[in-house]
């Protein structure tokens, strides 16, 4: 590897005269802290990690092959399953890419609804992160709190589209259903309910000395490495780059909303956690603004059932909760895509794990892995 951070701590510290032998620890594929089925092969020197080799593919479901055999409409249900914790964002990415390809204008109300859903899902996704991250570090209470709030978001989604996890809500050219009558008031209630709850998580975790000891200064990722490894999302922002596709390459209706991009300073585990916590507040802000300005009008552009985009290619990326999600679509003018390449955030973020974990203790890898917020179907597709 070309890029190597100079300020990484040395794996071995202190005077040691004893001869030691490296040994290999196998973590996974079934391990409670790998959030799915990821295998990490750790080469250890005592308690210190010398090398991490992630072994992936335990959830490779050949979604790219399936995409070649489904129509553009039908493939929507598979995008749900690529990133199941934030299906709305995965749907959104697919819609944005196909609409770019075919040049479809989306009604404004649909764009607003998409933004509301995507942001609510971002909050839900970060709550799942918080729950699993806290439970990995030994704090069970935030798990119960986070899922209590998540249930409310899930109720909002179920009210709108009928499912709790794989929403399949967006359609090419709009959204499938208009929101029900009391959705707006319920969501407003939820947003005002969320802010004090986020403060509550912060009261439990952020400055807690045990939590600080487990996260502060652990798993450093410096900015040039992060960029070269194509790391995106909260890990990139945690390393200090003010970069958010919602702000810098706005899609949908994001340029109309006012929100901040939280960034970290050191690029450690704690910064990545803090960025996500702050993003929850910002997402709630976006939702509130979008609900305020929710325009009337149609929710779906006219797209034929046998939708045939023109021949060509499209590359579109959006900011999903875990980072940048992009679709590269090649169309041959038929109802099915010729080739779909799915670029997911976790795939690249996981690749940077060896750099971040090298030199730390074995107990820290749980924190570092958790702070990346990897979703395995996104890695393997």
């Amino acid at each position: 590897m070309m890029v190597d951070s100079p300020d990484r701590p040395e794996p071995l510290t202190g005077d040691r005269n004893l001869e030691t032998e490296e040994f290999v620890v196998n973590m996974g594929p079934q391990h409670p802290s790998t959030h799915g089925v990821c295998r990490l092969i750790l080469t250890m020197d005592g308690e210190v990690i010398k090398k991490v080799v992630p072994d992936i593919g335990f959830l490779h479901r050949s979604i790219e092959k399936i995409a070649e055999n489904r129509t553009y409409h039908q493939f929507m249900i598979y995008t749900d399953r690529i990133d199941y914790v934030s299906s709305m964002n995965a749907n959104h990415a697919w819609c944005v890419a196909v609409e770019k390809l075919a040049g479809i204008e989306v009604p404004e109300r649909a764009e607003y609804l998409r933004v509301i859903m995507a942001e609510l899902n971002r909050i839900a996704s970060h709550l799942v992160f918080l729950a699993s991250f806290a439970i990995d570090l030994g704090a069970v209470t935030p798990f119960l709190y986070a899922f209590r709030e998540r249930e409310r978001i899930v109720d909002l989604f179920e009210m709108t589209c009928g499912q709790r996890l794989t929403y399949n809500y967006m359609r090419i050219g709009g959204v499938s259903k208009d929101v029900p009558k009391d959705f707006v008031s319920e969501t407003k209630k939820f947003c005002s309910y969320l802010y004090p709850r986020v403060d509550e998580y912060e009261a439990i975790l952020t400055e807690n000395p045990i939590f600080l000891g487990r996260t502060k200064g652990i798993g450093l990722l410096d900015l040039p490495t992060a960029i070269n490894y194509s790391v995106s999302g909260p890990p990139l922002r945690g390393s200090g780059l003010k970069w958010d596709i919602r702000k810098d390459e706005p899609y949908s209706a994001y340029e109309k909303f006012d929100f901040d991009i939280p960034t970290g300073e050191n690029g450690d585990t704690w910064d990545r956690y803090k960025v996500r916590i702050e993003e929850m507040r910002q997402s709630a802000r976006i939702v509130e603004q979008a609900l305020e300005g929710l325009p009337e009008g149609g929710i779906k552009a006219k797209v034929p059932a046998r939708f045939r985009p023109p021949q060509g290619e499209a590359f579109a990326r959006i900011e999903a909760p875990r980072g940048e999600m992009a679709y590269f679509i090649v169309s041959d003018g038929s109802t099915k895509p010729y080739r779909v390449k799915i670029r997911t955030a976790s795939f690249c973020n996981l690749q940077a794990l060896p750099v971040m974990a090298r030199g730390w203790k074995i107990a820290d890898i749980v924190a570092i892995f958790g702070s990346l917020d990897i979703i395995l179907p996104e890695v393997d597709r």
Binding site: P29, Q30, H31, P32, G36, V37, G57, F58, L59, H60, R61, S62, K65, I66, E68, N69, R70, I77, Y78, R81, Y84, V85, V128, A131, S132, F143, L144, Y145, F147, R148, R150, E151, V154, R164, L165, T166, L376, P377
Partner: protein, 179 residues
């Protein structure tokens, strides 16, 4: 097959022995059904619904005496939540074999039952977890609601309560039948 496993069979044959075995059945099955410790084994979407949401505040596995275990050695129940790929299939079998008897399996969601949405046009997904390990209860859904999986657990408890100690001697080797 040890002698201990044969004892209930002979016990049942002596006069009055039936009474002992049935009361033994009742006690054992009651304790087994009400302390189903499940293995934290989630692969895909269903893991969020079946293991995390259902274990969290609103639906609560603890009410059924179900507590999650990270190690298969301590678990009685394996909820196969999510897609099992060919690469994972071997590991699933190993995990199942590591669990101590009596052990039960719930196949949760379409993917675990028969490949689900990944049945067609897919080169890497195992079409049903029952091709590698025996399954007791199937919970359809993609993913199923937490209530559905709780209902599946209740169904499994009913199944456990119908077990007999005299069936212990019939330890069958599982042979996956080709579909």
């Amino acid at each position: 097959m040890g002698v201990v496993q044969k004892v209930p069979v002979y016990l049942e044959k002596i006069p009055g022995g039936g009474l002992i075995t049935t009361s033994l059945d009742a006690v054992l099955n009651w304790s087994r059904a009400s302390s189903l410790w499940y293995l934290l084994f989630g692969t895909a979407c269903c893991a969020i619904e079946g293991l995390m949401c259902t274990g969290a505040s609103r639906y609560d596995y603890d009410r059924f005496g179900m507590i999650f275990r990270a190690s298969p050695r301590q678990a009685d129940l394996m909820i196969v939540a999510g897609t099992i790929t060919n690469k994972m299939a071997k590991r699933v079998k190993i995990l199942y074999e590591q669990m101590s008897e009596p052990k039960y399996v719930i196949a949760m969601g379409g993917c675990a039952i028969r490949g689900g949405p990944f049945y067609y046009d897919c080169y890497s997904v195992l079409r049903g977890v029952d091709l590698v390990i025996p399954v007791d209860v199937y919970v359809p859904g993609c993913p199923p609601r937490p209530e559905s999986i709780l209902e599946g657990c209740l169904k499994l408890q009913q199944k456990i309560k119908k077990q007999k100690v005299s069936d212990w001697s019939k330890t069958e080797k599982f042979i996956p039948e080709p579909k």
